[in-house]
């Protein structure tokens, strides 16, 4: 029931009782006929009367279909058939005039039309009436698509109809929507008059500008504009954007122990006790089908076809932006520092690096014990030591990719974006429009991504301007401030980690002594940046120690790409549940985790419940067996934690300061994490 004013409650009046009684009689007669399968004229009239009073009485529509089938069983005269079906159309029409949102009535009409005896042109005339009365009625739009298909109408003609509707009223989201559907078909099929794509899109930009400039506060046109932007910048084939080991780097792999002092850069060192090191490749978009036939790795100690590539994704789609495989090295004592070359080729992209092996069989050089506790305090970190070599940041001079096949339309892309940017900068100088500002920020971002893709472009990025726009938006539109905040965080993070000078200011050396699993004691400290979301993982694949504490993170989506992580500090954020920690399940090197002072257990609604693998979403198979870890009593409360922790080998965990924590919970943790040495700063025995 919608839009009916509330009236003071009074006893049901006699008129209503009489009306109800009449309807009840009609209904009873109808059900009797339906039950007895009576399809005579009088019986049909009763059902028509019922439907005209109450079109939602769906059983009556079903009854009429049965009646039509029954009465036409042996009818062959087309005129007689048409007469029967016309009567159905009449009943539907009068029902729709009472309630044009009635699903049953619209379906009954389709059912009749599908029999092929009725005039489709009449349907268009009827639709014109309905669509004039309510231009947003999605039943009518849906029915229009149905009859257009029935009549084999060309999509060009229907597109013309949307133009008419839009020009009558710019604020018709339904028409814009239908336009986007039709146009993407026409573009995809390269129908005459709809090539080249660039020409068509340019005309669409012009059309939507009229709408935006007429009423900048109406959302309809802006959504269409956003779709056009997406059509303009959609990336083509996947491109490799970074890897670990990074292109051009010299990796030192040591096994069973600490690195000695002879290694000059900690950014490219790795220790392993498994006789293998990870090779991670990271693409500009999510890709599937990465295997030894689509990726070629040349490496002395592995046959390419033996390599198994695994997608780094928390879902089971088989697609991911980051993929990992493990390269082996021989267990030999080789102090020759011989550098073995490795080459990786994917499509048009490639990268190359060298690997040198170091075996250290002495005790730890200067190292501490593996049992030592990592202390996430400011005075544990030093900036003093000059970091001679830079962290491997993806940038153009690093050129992990071969030049892509020249894109003919890249010039058009750039011009279009530049035009749009100029246009909206002008519009916004005159009016204060939130969705206009958001569009400008998106255009600037798209522009930056595009120049980033073009080799040797020396244009400056607009990150400062974009950050300002998002800050503005937070004030201008406080209801959606956390959306803008998330976008702001992603841009900020990109700004921080996308160039070497900036990134270096966030790199600190941990302690004097460190456990051997931490062979690279450089900690990336992105704490206290007020980040609510993280990204730019392509620049962070090398990180083994990461401090994200004292931010506002509600999600760590994407962190699964950081396969080298062994120490992670997420304390003092806004993580709401264990299900938000799903990416950790893929971080098999993780030893030290701090999730203290978050909001785990403080909320009755779990917002990542369905992004987490569980029986609720049928994303777990036979391996779903947490009964071994939890007793009945704690099952209901701690199953998420059990799923997260059962596959990890943590030696140190901090959970204090979350609502879920109590003695029982801590006891459960020590059960499920037998490797644990430190829990909340206390030694576990």
């Amino acid at each position: 029931m919608h839009g009916r004013p509330r009236k003071p409650q009074k006893p049901v009046d006699d008129a209503s009782i009489a009306k109800a009684a009449k309807l009840r009689v009609l209904q009873a007669q109808f059900f009797q006929n339906h039950h007895d399968k009576i399809y005579a004229k009088e019986a049909l009239e009763i059902s028509a009367k019922l439907l005209e009073t109450n079109p939602e009485a769906y059983t009556a529509w079903n009854y009429r279909k049965l009646a039509v089938e029954h009465n036409l069983r042996s009818e062959t005269d087309p005129d007689a058939i048409k007469a029967v079906l016309d009567e159905e159309l009449r009943v539907v029409e009068s029902a729709l005039r009472r309630n044009f949102k009635c699903y049953g009535a619209w379906h009954h009409r389709k059912w009749v039309l599908n029999k092929g005896y009725s005039s489709v042109d009449h349907e268009f005339r009827l639709l014109d009436q309905f669509q004039k009365a309510d231009s947003r009625n999605f039943h009518a739009w849906s029915y229009r698509r149905f009859v257009a298909a029935l009549k084999n109408m060309s999509e060009e003609e229907e597109l013309k109809y949307t133009t008419d509707m839009i020009e009558t009223n710019f604020s018709n989201y339904s028409a814009w929507h239908n336009r986007s559907v039709l146009l993407s078909h026409l573009l995809k099929q390269k129908i005459e008059g709809f090539t080249p794509r660039e020409k068509v899109l340019t005309e669409e930009y012009e059309l939507v500008h009229q709408a935006l400039f007429t009423d900048p506060d109406d959302q309809s046109g802006w959504f269409y504009h956003f779709w056009l932007l997406d059509q303009t910048v959609t990336p083509g084939a996947p491109v490799l954007v970074s890897s670990w080991p990074a292109h051009g780097s010299d990796l030192f792999v040591s096994f069973k122990g600490n690195l000695d002092g002879g290694v000059s850069s900690s950014f490219t060192s790795f220790c392993s006790d498994k006789g293998a090191f990870p090779l991670i490749i990271y693409f500009n978009q999510s890709v599937g089908g990465i295997n030894s036939s689509t990726v070629t790795v040349k490496h002395l100690f592995d046959k390419n076809e033996d390599l198994i590539w695994v997608p780094l994704a928390t879902n089971n789609s088989g697609n991911a932006q980051a993929w990992v495989t493990f390269l082996r090295f021989p267990d030999v004592k080789d102090d020759s520092l011989k550098a073995y070359p490795v080459e990786v080729k994917v499509g048009h992209s490639q990268c190359a690096f060298t690997v040198s092996l170091r075996s250290i069989d002495s005790k730890h050089g200067e190292g501490g014990s593996d049992m030592e506790m990592i202390v996430w305090k400011d005075d544990s970190f030093h900036a003093s030591e000059p970091l001679l070599l830079s962290p491997p940041v993806v940038s153009l001079d690093q050129a992990t990719t071969n030049k892509e096949p020249e894109q003919i339309d890249s010039r058009w892309h750039e011009e279009t974006l530049a035009n749009e940017i100029a246009l909206f900068q002008e519009l916004l100088s005159e009016i204060n429009c939130k969705i206009g500002k958001l569009t400008l920020a998106r255009l600037l971002r798209a522009h930056d991504k595009m120049i980033y893709k073009m080799p040797f472009a020396d244009e400056k990025t607009h990150s400062k301007e974009v950050l300002d726009l998002f800050s503005d938006l937070m004030k201008l539109d406080p209801s959606h401030s956390r959306y803008y905040k998330d976008e702001h965080s992603l841009v900020l993070m990109e700004q921080v980690v996308s160039n070497r000078e900036s990134l270096l200011t966030y790199c600190w050396k941990y302690g004097e002594a460190h456990p051997s699993y931490l062979c690279n004691p450089i900690c990336l400290r992105l704490s206290k940046l007020s980040l609510s979301r993280i990204g730019s993982f392509e620049n962070l694949l090398w990180v083994q120690m990461l401090d994200l504490s004292h931010n506002e993170l509600w999600s760590i989506e994407g962190l699964e790409a950081m396969q080298l992580l062994s120490c992670l500090n997420l304390s003092n954020n806004k993580l709401r549940s264990f299900t938000a920690l799903e990416p950790l399940k893929l971080l098999k090197s993780l030893k030290v985790l701090n999730i203290s002072y978050n909001e785990i257990g403080a909320h009755s609604i779990d917002t990542s419940r369905y992004l987490f693998s569980s029986p609720l979403s049928h994303t777990v198979g036979d391996d779903w067996n947490i009964d071994a870890y939890v007793t009945d009593g704690v099952k209901m409360n701690y199953w998420e934690a059990a799923v997260i922790f059962k596959g990890l080998y943590l030696t140190q965990l901090d959970v204090v300061g979350n609502a879920i924590v109590d003695e029982k919970f801590n006891l459960f943790l020590t059960h499920i994490l037998p490797s644990l040495v430190w829990l909340d700063g206390d030694r576990v025995y």
């Binding site: 849906s142 698509r145 879902n315 609604i605 049928h618």
Partner: protein, 328 residues
Amino acid sequence: MEKLEVEKHAQYILSVEKRKDDFESVVMEHLRMNGAYWGLTTLDLLGKLEIVDKDEVVSWVMSCQHESGGFGGNVGHDPHILYTLSAVQVLALFDKLDVLDIDKLSNYIASLQNEDGSFSGDMWGEVDTRFSYIAICCLSLLHRLDKINVEKAVNYVVSCKNLDGGFGSIPGGESHAGQIFCCVGALAITGSLHHVDKDLLGWWLCERQVKSGGLNGRPEKLPDVCYSWWVLSSLIMIDRVHWIDKEKLARFILDCQDKENGGISDRPDDAVDVFHTYFGVAGLSLLEYPGLKAIDPAYALPVHVVNRIFFGQMKTCPTQQSSPRLQH
């Protein structure tokens, strides 16, 4: 902020159940099964489910089942998947799924799947992604998803995805918050949310919040309490609910209460009904309104009910059924 009139809403729901003489209640008779689900779920969220006679409800529900296995909206009305889900949900609320002949019921639902993976609502062939959600939700609650071709079902739902990130009722249909709930829910239950562009859809959904704090279902439409459910649950399933102003929305819902006689309406000062009372209370539950039980965003049942179904009997194999028993 206004406070939730728990007692009055519970009384209102009971009074609607009893009202039979006025025109409105006769017009609504065909969806009494939906009404039972809305009313009873609301009562459970309010902590008042014990005021109804469980056995009476269960036997009435079972009297709406047809030979085909499907349920009608009321006694004597034709079976339809819309009412079949409500029947299953009501039985789930009362922990009475064991009265069902689960195979018969799930065969009925499976028989409605079409070649392209879509679902018809009944034997008359109306196709809609609402029915995809219902089939998937229902079969999942019964541990019988294996009765249908899940992959095809998912692909059909994905084929209804629009360029604004939302979903329509059929391919090409305009995005609508109710339809989005159905499609996102179907994808959530089948572990297929990776087909959703969470940021794109999340932004479209959060833009449904208008100045008054209420949510609309499509751009440039009026806000309405029922979208508190459709939009909020979708935003929660894709973990983007913080993109709206929750407090403002809670205030809008509370302002739609009839503080004198109970019940919640679509907009402030409109006439109340059970449908909006349910969506208002469910919305407040998703907003973590104090004192309300939590509701699950995908199954649209209280979390404790869903957890009982999926985690309650984890010792036994999750797909194992209790022995079929038919009660009439």
